[in-house]
Amino acid sequence: MTSTWVSVLASYLHLLAVAVYLGGSVAMEFVLGPAQKFIPPAQAQVMGQKSADRFLTLVWGSLALFPISGMLLLFSTSNQSQVSGDKFFTTTYGRTLFGMIFLWCVLVINGVIITFVLRPRLNQKASGKGGGSNVSANLERAGKAARWVSIITRIDLGVAVFIVLLGASMAYGNGLI
């Protein structure tokens, strides 16, 4: 019965990771985001920074949980035979799993871009680093960065929704792709 309980634990962690990533992104984008417009811009920026810092911890935690719980799930349910060898590309189940892994990579790359490229640019605006002559340039860069964060977040949301669809197809049948 050990594999059954490993499977329960893996399912639990997998469900939790999906909920944190997808539901968290929806709440950040459609609940916290719009509410920020009702407070002064400077305060909104501080709030945006702090909330993003906390949320990014959740995002990276769930992105790390996806492959760990997914692999546990695959092996505990003895489904690894369905994706061994060339079955990974020749069967619907294998291709769907491959699609999910590919989309997970897209989420990780987007996460890296937001965390290590765009967020530092936004923080620079808040701290006013760069001196007086660079303030307008920093503001412009930060504005661009904020727009890109918003675009990438929405792309991530779409990708996450599609991953849920692929997951549902694997849970009930043989996959989708």
């Binding site: 019965m1 050990t2 594999s3 059954t4 499977s7 329960v8 634990l9 893996a10 399912s11 639990y12 469900l15 939790l16 999906v18 909920a19 944190v20 990533y21 997808l22 539901g23 968290g24 992104s25 929806v26 709440a27 950040m28 459609f30 609940v31 916290l32 719009p34 509410a35 920020q36 009702f38 407070i39 002064p40 305060q43 501080v46 709030m47 702090k50 909330s51 906390r54 949320f55 959740l58 505990s76 349910t77 003895s78 929704v161 849920v164 669809l165 997951g167 549902a168 197809s169 849970a171 009930y172 049948g173 989708l176």
Partner: protein, 176 residues
């Protein structure tokens, strides 16, 4: 059809649970660092959106779960040999699922309809010092209750997720 229903179920549940987690893990701690006036405005605006988001997602969960139950007869999410399905009878599963769902809707409504509005009450100018103190006390009590209800809601939602995991994890005969 079943894949689509499970997709809707997963989407609804993810949006609901993720939203509740963000409210507890991101928004609640953030409130401490904001001026009370701005916290009040943000709380009011977010509370309204979150209430509808949570209710719509729980609605999607209920509808998809019910249709899946009707299609499958035994009222399961994934298959008839899940840990939950093997260990618990069909009627009891339905009762547990409905009870958990009702509890979650109850938490959202209790917070959205009673606690949230009373945490934003303001004293009338003619109520005097005593009136203002009373209103402040009421607000603080509501906020404290809301924190407790939010924790209870999260705990219930996490238990519900465990039930889903039990339901989707297939019993492996002789598995070790």
């Amino acid at each position: 059809m079943k894949v689509f229903l499970l997709f809707v179920f997963g989407l609804g549940w993810s949006v609901y649970l993720g939203g509740a987690l963000v409210m507890a893990w991101v928004w609640r701690p953030l409130q401490k660092g904001l001026p009370p006036g701005q916290t009040g405005i943000l709380c009011l605006k977010m509370g309204r959106i979150y209430k509808y988001l949570a209710l719509v997602s729980l609605g999607l969960v209920a509808v998809s779960w019910a249709i899946l139950g009707l299609i499958d007869h035994h009222g399961v999410l994934i298959g008839s040999n899940g840990v939950f399905e093997v260990g618990v009878s069909g009627l009891l599963r339905g009762i547990i699922g409905a009870a958990v769902w009702l509890a979650l809707v109850g938490f959202v409504l209790f917070m959205g309809v009673f606690l949230h509005p009373s945490s934003h009450v303001r004293a009338e100018t003619n109520q005097g010092e005593a009136g203002r103190e009373k209103m402040k006390e009421m607000r603080l009590k509501s906020i404290s209750r809301m924190n407790k209800v939010l924790k209870a809601e999260l705990a219930t939602a996490l238990v519900a997720t465990l039930i889903m995991a039990l339901s989707s994890a297939t019993v492996i005969p002789g598995g070790h």
